[in-house]
């Protein structure tokens, strides 16, 4: 059974159709890349998987480890192991990164019936992960994403991901606005989480990130559905030839 099964998904926002029959199956241990032009529905897919309210699913279903994920609240999905690295991470004034993460990790553990993490254990893990990602502890004492540069926000997303140890990571254009060093750090964070029980969906416009996070499967998304699926070479092909043919094909 695949970890994630998306079947014939139709999604609208304010009456506008965005996804029109998208299907996708991701197995544990795999990394899938979803590429496509602007407006093809990439971010919508990410938000629908995470449960953002304003998106209305009009048809289709999403199963996560066999369970109907669309019936779950966003926090339930998170506790089940879904993580979305936001394209535009939000600022939360007055709440330190440390406090935010501890609250999140314990909320998830509580929902899973696990004991809360004691402060020293939490701090130890946080320090390790932060060090690996080259994040100064000082940054974690600041309010979440407040005053962070674009690159810092993205790195902070990867830090949260590494700490929360999700089963399925969805990275929504995490590469946008990153210089090459930051990109490598982000990729390293994702690769470290690579394991037979985990899967990732990497949403990107460019092939560049896929040099560092090598996908097992590449999908091309256009006009709300997957129009082509292939191996990692498909990404190189797209880089060379652009999206034009898929855009017209789908139209």
């Amino acid at each position: 059974m695949p970890m994630l099964e998306v079947e014939n998904l139709h999604v609208e926002i304010e009456g506008r159709k965005i996804l029109e029959g998208l299907s996708l199956a991701v197995n544990a241990g795999e990394i899938h890349a979803i590429m496509g032009p602007n407006g093809s529905g990439k971010s919508t897919l990410a938000y629908v998987l995470a449960g953002k309210q304003e998106y209305e699913v009009t048809q289709g279903r999403v199963l996560f480890e066999g369970e109907d994920m669309l019936a779950m609240e966003p926090d339930e999905r998170a506790a089940k192991g879904l993580f979305l690295a936001f394209q535009y991470p939000l600022e939360i004034p007055g709440v330190t990164g440390m406090n935010f993460l501890r609250t999140a990790i314990n909320a998830q553990r509580k929902k899973r019936g696990e004991p809360e993490l004691a402060i020293p254990d939490f701090m130890k893990r946080l320090r390790e992960v932060a060090k690996r990602l080259g994040i100064e502890p000082e940054m974690l004492r600041r309010a979440v994403n407040v005053g962070f540069s674009g690159g810092e926000k993205k790195r902070n997303e990867i830090l949260q991901m590494a700490l929360l140890e999700p089963k399925l990571c969805v990275l929504d254009e995490t590469d946008s606005g990153l210089d090459i060093d930051a990109l490598k750090i982000v990729a390293d964070g994702v690769n470290r989480l690579r394991s037979p029980d985990r899967a990732s969906i990497v949403i990107t416009h460019y092939q560049r990130l896929l040099n560092y996070i090598v996908p097992d499967v590449v999908h091309v998304l256009s006009k709300g559905r997957i129009v082509k699926t292939g191996g990692k070479d498909l990404a190189l092909e797209l880089e060379a030839r652009g999206y034009t043919e898929y855009q017209t094909e789908a139209a």
Partner: protein
Amino acid sequence: MPAVQETVEQVRRIDVDQYKYGFVTDIESDKAPKGLSEDTVRFISAKKDEPEWMLAWRLDAYRHWLTMREPRWSRVDYPQIDYQDLYYYSAPKRKAGPKSLDEIDPEILKTYAKLGIPLREQEILAGVEREGTYSRVAVDAVFDSVSVATTFKEELKKAGVIFLPISEAIKQHPDLVRKYLGSVVPVTDNFFATLNSAVFSDGSFVYVPEGVRCPMELSTYFRINEKNTGQFERTLIIADKGSYVSYLEGCTAPMRDENQLHAAVVELVALDDAEIKYSTVQNWYPGDAEGRGGIYNFVTKRGDCRGRNSKISWTQVETGSAITWKYPSCILRGDNSRGEFYSIAISNGRQQVDSGTKMLHLGKNSSSRIISKGIAAGKSNNTYRGLVSAHRKATGARNFTNCDSLLIGDHCGAHTVPYIEAKNASTVFEHEATTSKISDAQLFYCRQRGLSAEEAVALIVNGFVKDVLQQLPMEFAVEAQKLISISLEGSVG
């Protein structure tokens, strides 16, 4: 349904009947006859075994009160209070007066235990370990109208600190009481303060002698238990030259259908180089979802920075009461004196809050800082009302004010009414205010990380009020944080 909409729905459903402190303690009490007259005042004074001068002071206040009208300028709305339909004195029935905690009605002790106040000294001595230090708090507990226990008397005595129920202080330290009582809030000050002056029953008295740093936090817990009983406590704190004291006040009341009246007066006096830090966590019963019941909280709190370089700092976390009418203020009389006001006011259900501060700059180079965070949810109204004024001679006066409001849902109101009066050129006053709501995107982000809607709101609100929470002593900050979540409970449930 968008997340915020959902939050709003849940706010609407708020069940304040979950009020955590809404239990009634079953004890026998000794009450004055219902209603207010000179006889009531004499009764209270006699019960307290007060000296003649105190009775005369009270009667003066009472006679003046008869000439006064209830103020109606604030943005709160409530039916006319029938002052003849209240009890003005209620004390737990007991023997001559407690010589030790063992003599206190065990029911009362149980009540305070339920409130989480460790009354027994041994418990307190055990302390709460926090970051390697032992913190200890001396507690004065006021039950309805009288003080039932004061802990740590011995140790405070060694330091020279006087911490007593005010009824005791009137007898034991009449000179100090006479000198300072009513010197900050005059008997004729305002309708509710004058009423308090006539009928106040108990409260705390603190005197910290010259150069003494009070060795522990002092604390009073107020609880209204009796039905139809007004609580009129009176607190007087004097920090003599170069001294320091931190004082904590906590308030709860059981659920009652009637509105209970609370009209306290707090007076602080800081002499040269002295500092007083006064923190309040108020969670009186706010009434039910339809606005029935709840405490009417009409409080006059004022600090007088009488000496040079003196400092008074008010911190308040206001989550309770059906009506809050409260403006802890500073008279910055001394040169270089400093006043601070840090406030979190949360209103939910049908609560009405009209609260803020006054910073009156009289001394040269006096400075003040106001940080106010108002959170309105449900069908409540939350008003910040503040005055900052610098008089002609207060050259170099400075103020910084920041008052932010957060609205949860669109059936509540958040209002800001600042008065800023600069009467000389060297004044530097800065004021800023903002109003915002919790965004759907922020909520979604938190929920994606695994927080429930309720946890997400609590987290964001705690972030919003952080600047104020930081001002509270550690123990209180933790309690306040919990209280914020509780009072927004049902805001998401």
